[in-house]
């Protein structure tokens, strides 16, 4: 009897610059090294039955990613976590893990909010203007942005996805916190929000120097935020 497990895992500093595809492949290899009884798809080119909630851009770290994995039979979650922990590369750790029923909705389908922290190195003199830039963004009713992808350009309103950005001073600059809505029709990347803050609101920062970390993924309704592991 196959069994499905949901894991909360990290993408730490060591693997910040690893792409989503490479990150997934690293986890698959760790699963194989740990000798967990992973289930494979049928067919000519079998692949491990493993699914992620949402892809991260290259350069973005995460404190809480979610993945579902199917095994050929049930295992004690604690033993499974330990086996995997011994084989995961530096920067990838299992924070929580629990069995989920096969009928559980796919992660991709339920996650609708992503929280991010953006660390910006700033000279001391830039702190005031930076705070003002963030305030102006928060006060704006609509923030048009041209989103470009290989298929073409399309104008979106940043505010549809991010209503507010909060700013906190740090030792060497500023930390921005934001929650980004993920909708069936699309979303926006934190790097794009940062670009809008720099280009349209005169945030005095070098976007290349920013370090973006995802702090959480959630299933949110009007009032509450639940981790996909607690559904």
């Amino acid at each position: 009897m196959s069994a499905k497990y949901r894991l909360e895992i990290t993408k730490g500093e060591e693997v910040r610059y690893v792409s989503h595809l490479d990150y997934m492949r690293s986890i698959e290899r760790a699963v194989r090294r740990s000798k967990l009884p992973a289930a494979y798809s049928e067919g000519f080119n079998p692949h491990m039955k493993i699914a992620f909630a949402s892809a991260l851009s290259v350069g973005v770290a995460s404190e809480a990613e979610y993945m579902d994995i199917e095994l050929t039979h049930e295992l004690d979650p604690a033993a499974m976590g330990e086996a995997l922990a011994r084989h995961l590369p530096p920067g990838i750790a299992v924070r929580r893990l629990r069995p989920v029923s096969a009928r559980h909705a796919a992660l991709m389908a339920v996650v609708n909010l992503a929280a991010y922290r953006i660390s910006l190195p700033l000279p001391a003199a830039a702190a005031g203007p930076a705070r003002e830039a963030v305030s102006r963004f928060n006060a704006a009713a609509a923030v048009p942005y041209i989103k470009e992808n290989p298929k073409g350009k399309r104008e979106i309103d940043v505010k549809t996805y991010v209503s507010e950005v909060s700013a906190t001073a740090t030792a060497d600059g500023m930390e921005l916190a934001l929650a980004v809505r993920i909708t069936p029709t699309g979303s926006i990347k934190p790097a794009e929000v940062l670009k809008v803050l720099v280009d349209n609101f005169a945030l005095p920062a070098d976007p290349d120097a920013a370090l973006v970390t995802r702090t959480g993924l959630f299933v949110a309704d009007g009032t509450s935020r639940i981790s996909p592991l607690d559904i």
Partner: protein, 617 residues
Amino acid sequence: MIKIPPAVLSRVAKPARYTGHEQNCVVKDSSRVDAAFALAFPDVYEVGMSHLGLKILYHIINRRSDAAAERVYAPWPDMEAEMRAAGIPLHTMESFRPVAEFDVVGFTLQYELSYTNILNMLDLAGIPLKSADRGEQHPLVIAGGPCAFNAEPLADFIDFFVLGESEEAVDDVAAAVADWKRAGKPGGRRGFLARAAAIPGVYVPAFYDAAYNADGTLAAVTANHPAAAPVVTKRIVADLEHAPYPTKPVLPYLEIVHDRIMLELFRGCTRGCRFCQAGVLYRPVRERKPETLLRLAQELVDSTGYSEISLTSLSSADYSCLKDTVGLLIDRFKDQGVSVSLPSLRIDSFSIELAQEVQKVRKSGLTFAPEAGTQRLRDVINKGVTEKDLEEAVGAAFRAGWSGVKLYFMIGLPTETDDDIRGIAALAYRVLDIYREVKGKRGARVSVSVSSFVPKPHTPFQWYGQDAVAELERKQQLLKSLFKDRSISFSWHDAHVSFLEAVFARGDRRLGEVLLAAWRRGAKFDGWSEYFKFTVWQDAFNETGVDPHFYAGRERTADEVLPWDHLSAGVDKSFLEREYRQALAADPTPDCRRGDCRVCGVCQGLGVDIIDWGTSS
């Protein structure tokens, strides 16, 4: 320790090339060992990480308590520009320490067009490019690999070369460095080089002088130091069974060129294709036992989690226990989602049977290398394959469900005529016909890939003058005009690249200045078509007054002193000469591994034996 700023990493392509932390990498405090090696691959990370030789060296050095090996690859030009702008020196991936702080920097020489990257990496490391300009504080710059068998074009830049298989030699070199350092570096760099020259297989170019005749040909390369042997002979591992094998290779995050387990079945090849340098350099055949391979495969699966085992060697279908080994491997690993693949196939139906066994996916094509279009020319190059072999193999492939076939050929081979070129097209059309005969319908896809022949040192064709670029291009166009069927796709290599390869493959010390001039003019990553600029090289030849045609296009006489005559692969020059004469007569030489020794000299000269488990069982 060097810290690369996030702003740099976010501006370059594939930043994971530079951030390290890969699983299984060995991080020692290299300042606390006696011999710290920076193992350098003069190409980008994905290429360098795929190379088995460096994995072996990394493993052997790191298992010593007195030595450490770290890795360094050529930064892609976007990263190089960032490094130069930010003043970041070339550094290793383990400790992020500058390469200039290591005791030894070792380059592997896999292809001639990586030479400018060596200069570029030395420059990025802040190490003087020429050996003569290095001081006591600089690392020893060493090199090995197939191109070391003609070391002369790099003689100005490399302190010493190691010829042949390095499993044992690298231990000798590491021990010599450690001893010398512990003794307080007696005699300085030159003192160390004298010690190194006493190690079998080590060639110290500064201990030799080159003299030239009035016509520009080499008069002699003579030793000028008592420690320097008149001829340096390659190192070889007599017993591969017990040779160390890297079963915990560094596991990349980034997808690399060969992103799978590499299981080396055997070393060497005795088929004796007359164009093939590897066939000479790695003689004789030495096989591993199936049970050894199974053990190594298990260790590799356990340490990497890779989903594919690739059976590598110069000609994997020649492994005497191949069928048994493939069966054992499939049985052992099929439940773990690990597949087995055979990258190089000989043209026969036995191979198809095996390919069928290992390959669950039918959509990928099969590759065959007839090399030449006519039987006469295949006899000249001693390919040992007939049109009937090809027909049977292709027929078997089509019956087994394949519909795509890749065919590899060379043009510019000795004695080649336009009929041989037309023969390439005829073979491709024959493959289409076979599909129709087997399947009763059209639908085969044939892709024909044609490279240009490069005469290589230590081969029977080392004396042959390469076709001029214009002639190679004429032959490419002739062939192109013969392909009218859209089921056949045709691709060919830039003839200028092959020309430059030929210049450096058979070059002498005078090419050092050309290399330097080309690098100063911006040459790097010459093996990558987007960076290869032939005009840069033309300017470099003009500036230095060196005629490239003297090296590439000139037929050499049997009595000419060759720039690599003092470097020996163990195969006698007289054997190569005999093979060249037989080639011109289209007279084949059979494989020596099952009796019928043609006395190439390797087994006798180096005291090794062919090891072929299929004959003993």
